[in-house]
């Protein structure tokens, strides 16, 4: 049973890492479009939007790679979990105040609210994956295992 959980947690950890790696590619390639998306959330002061668009995808990529490999696992895991929670808060605020995230416009349309709810649901799915990893992922399934050994000798 314990081994099953360990293997399952390993799979979930790798999946979570890969999701963040994949999500970062498009943003790294198209920072201007990503800046527009951040603008649409209407939560950031204007002067921070481009800086966030330039750096956030790299945080996702590097932490995604490290989480997948199980290297500096705790740090990568914490950053990614923090990002998921920030995403949930950001989308949640906009669902409540009725901002259509596709266009960044304030709207009273139910249609726009529905698409934001889907994003919210997806982010809660990611959070569930992270919680599972937090409790069940074993250090023996990642590269940190070797790091620990070399530190010990």
């Amino acid at each position: 049973m314990k081994d099953t959980l360990k293997i399952l947690a390993f799979i979930v950890r790798v999946a979570l890492g890969i999701i963040f790696i994949v999500a970062s590619f498009d943003k790294i390639m198209h920072p201007a479009e990503f800046a527009k998306i951040i603008h649409n959330y209407r939560l950031m002061p204007g002067f921070l939007i481009n800086l966030l668009a330039i750096t956030l995808p790299w945080i996702e990529l590097i932490c995604g790679i490290l989480l997948t490999l199980g290297l500096f696992r705790e740090g990568a895991f914490s950053v990614i979990t923090a990002l998921i929670i920030i995403f949930i808060i950001a989308v949640g605020i906009n669902v409540v105040r009725g901002v259509n995230l596709d266009c960044g416009c304030f709207t009273v349309s139910e249609h726009a609210r529905g698409s934001a709810m889907l994003v919210l649901l997806r982010d809660f799915g990611l959070l569930a994956m992270a919680i599972f990893v937090y409790f069940f992922d074993s250090i023996s399934t990642g590269l940190d295992r070797f790091r620990k050994k070399s530190l010990a000798t």
Partner: protein, 177 residues
Amino acid sequence: MDRIKDVSRYKIIFQSLVLIAVSLAIGLVVNILSPNSIAWVGTWKVAFDSTGIVKPSYFEEGDTLITIDEAIAMYQSDRTVFIDARYPEEFLEGHIEGALILPFEEYDAYIGYIRRLVPRDAAIVAYCGEDDCDLSLYLARVLRQDEGYPEVYTLHGGFVAWLDADMPVSDEWPYDN
């Protein structure tokens, strides 16, 4: 020490900060070197300066922004058609008198009305809510590029600017059904 939940908080915080710092550094360096690099600080709030309208970051070549004064001058002409890019609910709460509605998000459902009612040689002014609302810019692009209307403008400042100028508004629905 095997599970993440058992690792000390200090270690987690330290690792996290190092990872964020490294990622920030890489991101900043890549933005200097990349062909897709963007300005460190973007122009997100559309504004005016001494040269006129400051273009927003999502402005593209071919977009034509006009000021509220230019829009008011065009309003006097029979050739001008104002098109509201917002949702019907917002349109019904108040819009530029005489304007048609083409919600950008419900384009397919409404474009038939525009094709029927707006002649090819019309001067179209697209607008939406306020000065950092971008729907009208996107709508103007589609009308120009996909529908082939040669003369499409976007009202900078949108409906809020129209209200501020004390221009006529209406809450009537422009279509028969």
